[in-house]
Each structure stands twice: as structure tokens, then as C-alpha cells.
């Protein structure tokens, strides 16, 4: 894997991250925001994995797998929280959610 290939991976990772950021910043719903966050995380994981492949060093890929696992846990917990809140208040909008929290 040479530098040219790495560049494409990095472009794609940047696209993923940017898409995540865009989703986080534009969508009102908490679910979408969570999806956006996942996109950003995946972008970052892709960067970890690609550099690890480029350097012939497995530490980055190991770290990426750890991150994915932790992210799964975190997403499941976050979804659970959101669902509970939605059940209780019928609110999924982030801004309204702030007021609910109070």
C-alpha cells in the first residue's frame, strides 16, 4: 500500500467525518445526531486502520477494533436512554430535550 492509496482512504475518511459533522449540525432529531456521531467515529476508525496498514504496524487496527466495540456499547446505552426519554416525554428533538432535562 503506497501513499497514493493512503490518500484515497484518507479522503474517504474525511468525507465520512464531514458527513457526520454535517448530520450532527443540521438534523434536529437525537437519533440522527447519534448516527452523525457514529459516522464521525467511523471516519476516525478508518484513518486509524489506514495508517496502521500503511505503517505495517497493527497497533492502529487493534485500537480501531477496541473503538468499534466501545462505540457499540456506547451507542446501545445512548439509544436506550433516548428511547426511554422518548417514551416518557414524546420528545426526540435535542433543543427541546434540554428543557426536559431541567
Amino acid at each position: 500500500m503506497n501513499e497514493e492509496h493512503l490518500t484515497y482512504y484518507l479522503y474517504f475518511a474525511a468525507f465520512l467525518f464531514s458527513s457526520g459533522v454535517f448530520v450532527v449540525l443540521t438534523k434536529r432529531s437525537a437519533i440522527f445526531v447519534l448516527i452523525g456521531v457514529e459516522l464521525m467515529l467511523n471516519g476516525a476508525n478508518l484513518v486509524l486502520a489506514s495508517f496502521s496498514q500503511y505503517d505495517h504496524d497493527m497497533k492502529g487496527q487493534i485500537f480501531a477494533i477496541f473503538a468499534i466495540v466501545i462505540t457499540v456499547c456506547e451507542v446501545s446505552i445512548a439509544l436506550a436512554i433516548l428511547l426511554n426519554i422518548y417514551r416518557k416525554t414524546r420528545v426526540s428533538n435535542l433543543d427541546e430535550l434540554r428543557e426536559v432535562g431541567n
Binding site: 459533522v21 449540525l25 434536529r28 435535542l94 433543543d95
Partner: protein
């Protein structure tokens, strides 16, 4: 000692006035005047001139001089004043303000004696003004009655106009020697004329004569005092004192004015229905004689006429006072109107007798004093005219015509007042000719008889000429003879004409009660001389209102303009301040407010905007790290 006596002579009438004002008896005031008379007589017989001075300012002395002239006149003034005081005891006995009246009388006498004592012209002027003030106070004695205050004011103001001229004349003289007795040489024309105008004002000469008839609203004994000895005599006395120094042309003007005034007074007196006005015009006429006498250079004759005139005119006025008092108690009609009188010799025998004697003296009938003194003046006028030229004969001629007019109006007055029948039916009055009324009248009538002046009833000199040391020098006995004859003729012609025209039963006398006094008649109103004063006063008022308007429009306008200009300027400064100086400061404020609003927007929105800005911030920081 002598100084103290002179001072006592001056102050005694005033003290008498004050004592009667604060004390219980008003009759005390006549004692003060009597004291002055005694002192004056004492000095007259001791025969010395006394001179002294008062230091008014350091180094500026006001001299007084007591010589025979002033002593004779002081004796005359205090005698007349004393008789007026005595007469007033009865005349004013029912007045509430009689204490005030006697105080004013004392003040009047005091001022006049001071005027006669003064030698320095400034001192003279001070007393001159005091005399004017005193006469104003006395004329306005009944100040609550309608028209009287304005008449008193008119008399006062006319005198003020003339006094302004006198003061100007005094100030134009050589200031180092204002003492009359120390003067020599001739004055210039202007100060001579101005001082003569001052004398004209006091002595009621044309054109100032209007105040004297207006002054008739005062109490009648006051009129006697004003007309006989005090007020109007002051002008003649001034002319007597200063005429040796006056410019010859000014003296000629004095002679002409005096003659004209004599004629004017005589012709106006013929047409009056008010007994006091007849006497007032007669006084104007006689004063004209005196002024004319000074003008033609016969000062001693003028002084003699002043002396004799004082007696018979005071007698006439006091007699008129008795008549008016009688009429006041008898009728509701105007007590001074001759049309309401007639036949009064039955009711007022003493008044009639004394009035007749004084009238004959005024008319210039031989055996009475008026003939002698008037004759002296006319003779001097004739001599003066013969030395000047043909036109100057107008002076003695008019004087002779006036003598005729005098006899005419005197005859008319006596016939209409005392003879015939009463014009008002059932005339009864509680007024009686008591001793205090009778005595002054008798004394004044006796003083009008020739024997007290000269043994010869046709002479025109007297002991007065001798004692003041000014005997008239006659160049021509023919003139004095012809004048004596002519004035005798004039007096008798006047009286005869008066008798034939106004005698009881004549047409005039019968229709007299219904005679209307037409206000349009020029002689009845004395040639409208007071109307002229009013016109003059209105002119002064117009001038004042004109200057007021100029003040309002021009001066105030300029000040307004300056004020408006200031306001406009400050408005401009305010605009500059607001837009040029405040502008940048406000701009800074506006900009910082905009920035603040913009920045405030960052934090106040929802969470995603905040995140956006967070991202922007991170990008900025990263690009700072990466690119710089």
C-alpha cells in the same frame, strides 16, 4: 449779637408755625411773625448795613446782606404776613387742617425773609425755590377738592420752567463772584436774559402769567400773601438787585415785556366774573408796571410801587376773603362769582370802606398811595422813551392806557359788588366782621393813604427812595408834570366811564346776573395762556412718548437682534457639537453595539449553532497552527 438777631428774624415765623402746629393755639404763629417785624424795624431805625457769610463748603462762602432795601421789604413782608395770620384766625377757624395751614404760612414767610436776606446768588436761589415750594403747598391746601391739585401743580411747574432758566443764568455768570453786592461790570446778553426769565416766572409776566390765575384756588388770605408781599414780589426784587449789571438790550426786553404784561392784565381783568380772578389779573398788570419800571431804569420807583401795591392789594384780597366768607355762609351758589353779589355795602360796611380805599389806591386816584408810585414809573418810562427814540413811546403810552383800564375794571368791580341791590334774594349770613377781620383791613387801608409816603399827594417820591439812596434824577420837569396830568386824567376818565356804564340801574348792571361767561371769549380766558401751557405740556408728553418708541423700537430692537444672534449662534454650535463631535463617539457606540449583538447571537441560539461555532473555532485554531 447782630448775627443772632438776624437769624432770629429769619427763623421766628417758622418757629411760630411749628409751635402752632404742635401746640394748642394757632394764634401763636402770628407772634413769631410779629417778632420778625419788630427786629426788622429795629434794624431799620439803627440804620447800619450788616454783612455776613455762611461757610457752605470749605472755602465757599454764601454771603447775606442786610441793607435798607432788604430791611424795608422784610418789614413789609412780616407786617403783611402778620395781618394775614390774624385774618386767617377767623377765615380758617372752621377748617380741619388749620394747624397745617399756619405751619405752611410760617414756612412761606420764613422762605421769603431768607430770600430777602440773601446776597449770594446760590443762597438766593435756595430760598427762591423754597418760596416756590411753599406757594405750591399753600395753593394746594384743599388738596382733596377736584381740580385743585392740578392747579397747584400747574403753578409749580410753570415756576420750575422759569427757575431752570434762572439757574442756567446763574451758572453762566462769573462763578468767582456771585455776591450781588460785590459785583461790577456788565453781564453778557444770555445770562441777563435767562435771569430775567427766572424773574418773569416768579412775577407772573408774559408768557408765564397763567399760573397766577390758576393759583386762585388756594385760600384767599394766601392769595393776599402771594400777591402782595411774598411770591410775586421775589421776581421784582431779583430784577431790582441785578438790573445794574444787566445787558442794556436785556433791560429793554424787560421793559417791553413788563409793559405788555401790564396791558394784558388790565384788559383781561375787565372781563372776569370771579372776584379773585379780577384781582389776580390786576396783580399781573401791576407787576407788569414794576417790571417795566426796572426795565426803564427806575428801580427805586418799582420798589416804591411794590411797597404801596403790597398794602392795597393785600387789603383788596383780604376784603375779597371777607366777601367770599360772607357769601359761603349766605348761599349755595358760587361764592366768588360777582354775578351773585351786588349791594353788599349794607351787609359788609367795614369791608366796603376798606375795599373802596384800596380800590382807589389801585386805580391811581390822588390822595392814595397807588397814584404816587405808578406816576413815578410812568414818568421814568417817558424819560426813557425820550432818550431812546420814537418807537419807545409805546411803553409809556401803553402804561397810560393800562392806567385807564385799571380805573375802569376797579370801578366795575366795586360797583358790581357793593352797589345797587342784592342779586340774590333774602341774603342772610352768619358771618360778622369781627375784630380779627376788621383790624387787618383797616390797617391795610390806612397804609394805602398818601400821607405815609410823602406830604405832597401829587409827588412821586417818598421816604423809601431816600432811605435806599436811589432818588430819581429828573432831567425834565415838564415830563413829570404832563405825566401827572395825564395819569390823573386817565384815572378819572376810567372811573367816570365805569360809573356811567356799570352804575346801579344801567343796562349792564340790570342784566348782569343773567350774563353768561362764554368760554370761547379770548379775554375771559386770558388769551388762553393756560391752554397754551397744556399744549406745551402735551408736546413734551408727545416728545417723551416718541423717545419711548425710539427706545422700544431701535434700542430694544438692537438688543433683541443681539440676543437672537446669540441664540442662533449657540444653536449652530449645538448642531456642530451634536453631529461633528458627538458623531464619531456615537459611531463607535453603534459599531460596538452591532458587534455586541452579533457576538451575543453566537451563544444564545440552539445547541447546534453553538457546535457550529465551536467547529469554526477549532478550524481557525488548527489553520493557525498549520499555516503560520
Amino acid at each position: 449779637m447782630e448775627t443772632w438777631m438776624i437769624f432770629a428774624m429769619l427763623i421766628a415765623p417758622l418757629i411760630g408755625g411749628f409751635v402752632s402746629y404742635f401746640g394748642k393755639q394757632v394764634s401763636i404763629s402770628s407772634i413769631g411773625v410779629f417778632a420778625s417785624l419788630i427786629i426788622a424795624l429795629f434794624f431799620t431805625f439803627s440804620g447800619n448795613d450788616i454783612q455776613g457769610s455762611i461757610e457752605w463748603l470749605p472755602g465757599y462762602k454764601l454771603n447775606y446782606l442786610v441793607d435798607q432795601t432788604s430791611l424795608i421789604l422784610i418789614a413789609l413782608v412780616s407786617l403783611i404776613s402778620m395781618l394775614v395770620h390774624i385774618f386767617s384766625l377767623e377765615y380758617m377757624s372752621e377748617e380741619h387742617g388749620k394747624r397745617r395751614y399756619f405751619l405752611k404760612l410760617g414756612f412761606f414767610t420764613f422762605s421769603m425773609i431768607g430770600l430777602l436776606l440773601a446776597d449770594h446768588l446760590i443762597l438766593f436761589f435756595i430760598f427762591w425755590e423754597l418760596v416756590g415750594l411753599a406757594s405750591y403747598l399753600l395753593i394746594g391746601f384743599w388738596y382733596q377738592k377736584q381740580g385743585i391739585p392740578s392747579a397747584a401743580r400747574l403753578a409749580f411747574m410753570v415756576n420750575r420752567v422759569a427757575d431752570a432758566a434762572l439757574l442756567a443764568g446763574i451758572l453762566l455768570l462769573d462763578q468767582s463772584s456771585l455776591n450781588i453786592s460785590l459785583m461790577d461790570g456788565n453781564w453778557l446778553m444770555l445770562p441777563s436774559i435767562l435771569i430775567a426769565i427766572g424773574a418773569f416766572g416768579k412775577s407772573a409776566q408774559l408768557p408765564f402769567s397763567g399760573w397766577l390765575t390758576k393759583a386762585m384756588v388756594g385760600p384767599t388770605p394766601v392769595s393776599a400773601l402771594i400777591h402782595a408781599a411774598t411770591m410775586v414780589a421775589a421776581g421784582v426784587y431779583l430784577l431790582f438787585r441785578v438790573s445794574p449789571f444787566m445787558h442794556p438790550d436785556a433791560l429793554m426786553i424787560v421793559a417791553l415785556i413788563g409793559t405788555l404784561t401790564a396791558f394784558y392784565g388790565g384788559i383781561c381783568a375787565l372781563m372776569q366774573h370771579d372776584i379773585k380772578k379780577v384781582l389776580a389779573y390786576s396783580t399781573i398788570s401791576q407787576l407788569g408796571y414794576m417790571v417795566m419800571g426796572v426795565g426803564v431804569g427806575a428801580q427805586s420807583a418799582s420798589l416804591f410801587h411794590l411797597f404801596t401795591h403790597a398794602f392795597f392789594k393785600a387789603g383788596l384780597f383780604l376784603g375779597a376773603g371777607a366777601i367770599i366768607h360772607f357769601m359761603q355762609h349766605a348761599t349755595k351758589e358760587d361764592p366768588q362769582d360777582i354775578r351773585n353779589m351786588g349791594g353788599l355795602r349794607n351787609q359788609l360796611p367795614w369791608t366796603y370802606k376798606t375795599f373802596l380805599v384800596c380800590s382807589l389806591a389801585l386805580a391811581g386816584v390822588p390822595l392814595f398811595s397807588g397814584f404816587m408810585s405808578k406816576e413815578g414809573i410812568i414818568i421814568a418810562g417817558w424819560e426813557w422813551a425820550s432818550s431812546i427814540g420814537r418807537w419807545a413811546y409805546v411803553v409809556p403810552d401803553l402804561a397810560l392806557i393800562t392806567a385807564f383800564l385799571t380805573a375802569l375794571y376797579v370801578g366795575r368791580m366795586v360797583l358790581l359788588v357793593f352797589w345797587g341791590e342784592n342779586r340774590i334774594q333774602n341774603l342772610y349770613s352768619s358771618f360778622k366782621e369781627v375784630a380779627v377781620v376788621r383790624t387787618p383791613l383797616i390797617i391795610l387801608a390806612i397804609g394805602s393813604i398818601w400821607i405815609f409816603y410823602n406830604w405832597n399827594p401829587l409827588a412821586h417820591t417818598s421816604w423809601i427812595h431816600a432811605s435806599i439812596g436811589l432818588m430819581p434824577s429828573h432831567t425834565d420837569d415838564f415830563i413829570s408834570m404832563i405825566v401827572t396830568f395825564l395819569s390823573l386824567l386817565m384815572a378819572i376818565a376810567g372811573l367816570v366811564l365805569a360809573f356811567s356804564f356799570f352804575k346801579p340801574g344801567s343796562n349792564y348792571n340790570r342784566s348782569y346776573a343773567e350774563l353768561q361767561s362764554d368760554n370761547k371769549k379770548i379775554l375771559f380766558n386770558g388769551f388762553f395762556i393756560t391752554t397754551f401751557y397744556e399744549f406745551f405740556g402735551k408736546g413734551v408728553l408727545r416728545l417723551a412718548s416718541f423717545t419711548f418708541k425710539v427706545d422700544r423700537r431701535v434700542v430694544d430692537g438692537a438688543i433683541h437682534l443681539i440676543g437672537v444672534g446669540g441664540v442662533v449662534f449657540s444653536k449652530i454650535v449645538a448642531l456642530i457639537d451634536r453631529f461633528i463631535i458627538d458623531g464619531p463617539i456615537n459611531l463607535v457606540g453603534v459599531i460596538s453595539r452591532l458587534i455586541g449583538k452579533a457576538l451575543a447571537g453566537l451563544s444564545s441560539r440552539d445547541i447546534q449553532t453553538q457546535l457550529t461555532w465551536l467547529l469554526v473555532g477549532i478550524i481557525l485554531i488548527l489553520s493557525w497552527i498549520l499555516f503560520f
